[in-house]
């Protein structure tokens, strides 16, 4: 396993996660470098989403979950009892598998985050909404109907709205859980392009089962298999020249 030249923004150390009897992650240690795209790949059920959702402690919502180990966000131990979970989650935006707009208007969807974090100034909210919708390249499509229900948008637009919503709380990291799997190819492509664009300002962690997507987007790749971290490193190395036999087999498509 290679040493990481870049400063890690997230550092996962000996993470074990289990749901009841079933262990989802076994002793995973990995560093996520800042302002890069890191893809987590592996066959379904290997713990990709669990690893992702550990990072912003969304796994806390799952019944019967137990975990041990540490995850550091900069120097903050996110599992520490003194750590403010809402702050951690605010700094890590989530883009879910299925777009899930809040039951309110397009404007309110984006403004929801800033509002709960105390922003009440109408002018500033307007600016945030416009900036985030532009970043998600949705502004031109919705600027005339900001008060319309978000549920009326197409799936692809909804996913970009979810991205804008995540950006609105000023995160440093974007956690994406197979963000294109529910979308049509054209919408999927536009989301991919956005992520590529956002890489300049944000650290992106993306779970994907599409190897080509990892190849196109990622700088680093984490390969998980049955809850264990098998291999980790720059994308060219892992996808083109993996050391581990299991990784080789997966990439050649022997199993998936």
């Amino acid at each position: 396993m290679m040493k990481d030249p870049l400063k890690p923004i997230l550092s996962v150390q000996n993470l074990n996660v289990s749901y009841g009897e079933q262990q989802a992650l076994k002793n995973v240690t990995v560093n996520i470098p800042e302002k890069r795209i890191t893809a987590i790949i592996g066959p379904s059920g290997c713990g990709k989403s669990t690893l992702l959702k550990s990072m912003n402690r969304l796994i806390d919502l799952t019944e019967g979950v137990k975990y041990s180990g540490k995850i550091f966000y900069h120097d903050t131990d996110i599992f520490d009892a003194k750590t403010d979970v809402t702050y951690i989650r605010k700094k890590m935006g989530l883009l879910a598998q299925k777009p899930c707009p809040l039951p309110m208007s397009i404007y309110d969807n984006v403004a929801y985050g800033p509002r709960i974090h105390g922003q009440e100034n109408k002018k500033e909210l307007d600016q945030i909404v416009e900036r985030c919708l532009r970043s998600a390249s949705l502004w031109d499509e919705v600027k005339d109907r900001l008060k319309a229900p978000a549920s009326k948008l197409s799936l692809g637009q909804q996913q970009r709205l979810c991205l804008a919503r995540a950006l609105a709380v000023d995160p440093e990291i974007l956690l994406c859980d197979e963000p294109t799997s529910a979308l049509d190819p054209i919408s999927a492509q536009s989301v991919e392009e956005l992520l590529h664009e956002l890489r300049k300002d944000y650290t992106v962690v993306i779970v994907t089962h599409i190897l080509r997507q990892a190849m196109r987007l990622a700088d680093y790749v984490v390969f998980l298999y049955l809850g264990e971290l098998i291999e980790y490193g720059p994308v060219e190395k892992i996808l083109k020249n993996p050391e581990n036999a299991t990784t080789q087999a997966y990439i050649k498509g022997i199993f998936s």
């Binding site: 809402t86 702050y87 951690i88 989530l94 879910a96 707009p101 809040l102 709960i116 549920s151 709380v169």
Partner: protein, 268 residues
């Protein structure tokens, strides 16, 4: 299935037609705008404005009170203690409370009122009716909140919302159409119930001016008028029943319209 459907619809239609056919001829402006004058129950002048306003005050007050208590309870059951044993126990108790006949609530309320020295009053009626509306509201809301997708909750938490914000700003909005249904269901039960208000709200020919005045209610107005030996008073009982039906019907139409308005935000 078709036959059963026709039996149900036919029964409903028969009730409505009978009430309207017998009641509408007696329905007059004075019924709606006057309180009973002397000798009203002997077939003389007057109306049942006392019961209309009494019923509306009482059901609105009780439903409001029940809502203020039920919504937090339902949210707590659903999002705070979820599948714990205590939650299951609470749900069982609420189901049992739903099944208790309203006369029992009436007697219970009356006993408590005697104990604390409260006379038959609007307040006593409101509290008693709220008591038997609460299990209905909580259980219906509980079922509705259960339908809120976990993805939506995750989306809200992922933005750094606290549980309180997720519950009140996202879950309640998502469940709003169903919550309206719960409120309407409870209101319907509350405004139509005679047994629970018989002792607790009492009956009066006057419009209550304070929470401590007794209040007349439409179901009791129906009961008392139907119990007189005079045919013209009996038809007024049907007219009162028709008024009650119209109130419930128009409310359910309004709440449906509101529910549809709120439902447009919901992603199926």
């Amino acid at each position: 299935m078709l036959v059963s459907t026709f039996i149900v619809l036919g029964g409903l239609l028969a009730v409505i037609t009978m009430v309207l056919v017998r009641g509408v001829p007696a329905l007059s402006i004075s019924m709606l705008t006057q309180t009973p004058k002397g000798g009203y129950y002997l077939g003389k002048e007057g109306g049942i404005l006392n019961a209309i306003t009494g019923s509306l005050y009482l059901a609105a007050g009780a439903t409001g009170l029940a809502l203020v208590i039920s919504l937090p309870v339902a949210l707590y059951l659903e999002e705070y203690i979820g599948k714990s044993r205590f939650a299951d126990f609470a749900r069982l108790m609420l189901d049992i409370s739903w099944g208790i006949p309203s006369i029992v609530y009436g007697v219970f309320g009356f006993t408590i009122m005697l104990y604390i020295g409260l006379k038959s009053s609007l307040l006593g009626g409101i509290i008693t009716v709220a008591l038997f509306e609460i299990p209905i509201m909580v259980r219906v809301m509980d079922e509705v909140l259960k339908m809120v997708p976990s993805d939506l909750k995750e989306a809200s938490y992922a933005l750094g919302s606290t549980r309180f914000e997720t519950v009140f700003k996202v879950m309640v909005r998502q469940a709003l159409p169903g919550i309206l249904t719960a409120i309407l269901l409870a209101f319907g039960r509350g405004i139509g119930d005679a047994a629970s208000v018989l002792f607790t709200a009492g009956y009066t020919d006057y419009i209550p001016t304070s929470l401590f005045d007794p209040a007349a209610t439409l179901p009791l107005a129906v009961l008392f008028q139907l119990g007189t030996p005079f045919p013209e008073v009996q038809t007024r009982a049907y007219a009162s029943a028709a008024i009650l039906m119209i109130i419930v019907l128009s409310l359910s139409i309004i709440s449906r319209m509101l529910a549809r308005k709120f439902a447009k935000h919901i992603v199926a």
